[in-house]
């Protein structure tokens, strides 16, 4: 995805190693154009979260390290930044598993998102109202302790809290994990709305391939730390292999890309033999 669109995030050939030995990402490149939604798809352990954490510089706190390649965000190289500096630059990650502050009220959780901004009391209230206009459910529950809200509400809270930092770019890590289908589409509607009205660029890690692609502009599919396929969301939705492997529209059993590539190779060899 090169050319005329300006990229807010540009990941070039990164390799990530945990604990100096575990290779989690291998030569991953990825771009997010300004104002677009990009989906990062793959199964558990494929390297989605690792990619997001490499971008938000949260890797260091999990003993991970980008050992090769480069990441530039909005024109800045992120190597020397720490998470709070990244938030200052307008990049906020919503971590996998929501991670709300359980003992704080819903409203306190949201306000804590504005920590990096210097706002007066009245400005905070203004911002709060704006956030509540997207997350109506949260307004009803503003005084309850976050730990006692439902999974869907906690996910909304995590996104709302991140939005309070006024990000230019959001990294969403599996926002629909463990949620009912109805809530999944509710959350995606909000995400889409935030993208369109607030102009936030979004990089989204998801397992729910179908709905993620339907709500994105572009998609990357990764497996065992490698990008296997990328393309516009529409092209991926129509891609036969994606249909078969990720959308469950298949006659045969489950497979992954590696199996497909192997099959292709073997059939090529067979063809060669035949031709010979």
């Amino acid at each position: 995805m090169s050319g005329n669109t300006e990229n807010i995030l540009d990941i070039k050939n990164i390799e990530v190693v945990y604990d100096n030995v575990i290779l989690a990402l291998h030569n991953v490149s990825l771009q997010v154009p300004k104002g677009k939604v990009v989906a990062l798809l793959g199964a558990n352990g494929a390297g989605k979260s690792t990619t997001l954490k490499a971008v938000s510089t949260m890797l260091a706190s999990e003993r991970g390290k980008v050992t090769k390649g480069s990441i530039s965000y909005d024109g800045t190289a992120i190597e020397k930044q720490n998470p709070s500096q990244m938030v200052g630059l307008g990049m906020v990650q919503v971590l996998e598993g929501r991670r709300c502050f359980g003992h704080l009220t819903v409203e306190e959780n949201i306000i804590s998102g504005a920590y990096s901004r210097k706002l007066s009391k009245s400005e905070i209230n203004q911002e709060l109202e704006k956030i509540y206009s997207y997350f109506l459910r949260l307004k009803e529950r503003r005084k309850s302790q976050a730990a006692f809200t439902s999974g869907g509400e906690q996910q909304m809270l995590a996104v709302a809290r991140a939005m309070m930092a006024k990000p230019k770019m959001l990294l969403l890590d599996e926002p629909t994990m463990g949620l009912a289908p109805q809530l999944v589409s509710e959350i995606f509607n909000i995400v889409k709305e935030l993208n369109q009205k607030e102009g936030v660029s979004i990089l989204l890690a998801e397992q729910n391939t179908n709905i993620a692609l339907k709500n994105s502009d572009y998609g990357y599919i990764i497996e065992t730390g490698k990008v296997m396929l990328d393309g516009t969301a529409q092209s991926l939705l129509n891609n036969d292999q994606v249909k078969e492997l990720y959308l469950g529209i298949s006659k045969k059993g489950r497979k992954n890309f590696r199996d497909v590539l192997k099959e292709e190779e073997t059939s090529k060899k067979k063809n060669k033999k035949k031709n010979n």
């Binding site: 260091a60 502050f101 359980g102 003992h103 804590s112 920590y115 990096s116 730990a147």
Partner: protein, 302 residues
């Protein structure tokens, strides 16, 4: 009968006020437990270090009382700064147990530094408040209550109100509570952990200084203060490790029960049960209410 009741009242009130002295020490532990989820074994050493420095400034350099206090408080901020930089930051990804061990080491370093700088002899600390019954109360209420105890009570009250307001209504307080809940999530939304740690350790240092002044005025500024601070352990078990009101109430309960037990049950054990009675009480709490009276319940959604 009336005399007996008065005596009982005196024991209880004396115990409650003495308990506020424990509360003061426990407050320092709570601050650090909230932010680092670690029991700070060096809190006792911090008490000793800060009050010895305070005495040293006054007695060796003739710094006036108020300035010496400010200097000592600033010194504790520096200690907090160094702790964050040289102990906590390198251990950022380490487990809580590792940090716990590090605080034990930090304690030894502080004890050593304090004695190297100011000497090992017991110093007298005169706050201008006597440790003897207030005549007015003795005359009117027939209770013998020490002026120092009353001062400790007032100081403890002021500190809890101050800390409560700080946590509940300021931005940095919100940041601290967020870090206490989930440090990773807090840093993901841009709350700088090192500022919070710095704040907490400095605040704990100043609280240690205040507690040290109270204890030093009563028992002399000496090495024994280090162990005395561990009396805060049963206070915390009863009150809850992460609760500021808990530290206060726990202190009061320990203070009152240990005095009452000492006076009424002590004779059957040959006296001096003050030393271990609080720990027995703590064991009962651990058995039946492990999070303490005010500790944050572990919330699980089902």
């Amino acid at each position: 009968m009336v005399n007996e009741l008065l005596f009982f009242m005196e024991v209880v009130v004396g115990g409650l006020l003495a308990g506020t002295m424990y509360s003061l020490v426990a407050l320092g532990f709570v601050l650090i437990f909230k932010a680092s989820a670690t029991f700070n074994f060096s809190q006792g050493a911090m008490v000793f270090f800060s009050v010895l420095a305070f005495c040293g400034f006054m007695q060796d350099f003739n710094v006036p009382f108020v300035f010496a206090f400010i200097l000592a408080a600033l010194l504790m901020v520096v200690v907090g700064l160094c702790t964050e930089r040289f102990v906590l930051r390198p251990l950022m990804n380490a487990s809580e147990d590792t940090v716990l061990m590090a605080t034990i080491g930090l304690g030894y370093v502080l004890e050593g530094l304090a004695q190297a700088a100011w000497g090992v002899e017991v110093r007298r600390l005169d706050l201008g408040i006597g440790d003897f019954p207030v005549p007015w109360i003795a005359d009117n209420l027939k209770l013998f209550i020490s002026a120092l105890d009353i001062t400790a009570g007032i100081v403890a009250t002021l500190m809890i109100v101050g800390l409560f307001l700080l946590f509940k209504y300021t931005k940095i307080g919100l940041g601290l509570r967020a870090v206490a809940d989930d440090a990773g999530a807090a840093s993901s939304i841009g709350i700088p952990l090192k500022h919070i740690m710095l704040l907490v350790w400095s605040a704990a240092g100043v609280v240690a200084l205040v507690a040290g002044c109270m204890w030093g005025a009563r028992a002399g500024v000496q090495f024994a203060l280090v162990d005395l601070a561990l009396k805060a352990l049963p206070v915390l078990i009863i009150g809850g490790f992460s609760s500021i009101p808990g530290a206060i109430v726990g202190g009061l309960i320990i203070g009152a029960t240990e005095k009452v037990l000492e006076v009424y049950i002590g004779p059957f054990f040959g006296g001096a049960i003050e030393g271990w009675a609080p720990y027995v009480l703590a064991i009962f709490f651990l058995l039946y209410r492990p999070e303490g009276l005010f500790g944050e319940k572990i919330i699980r959604r089902v």
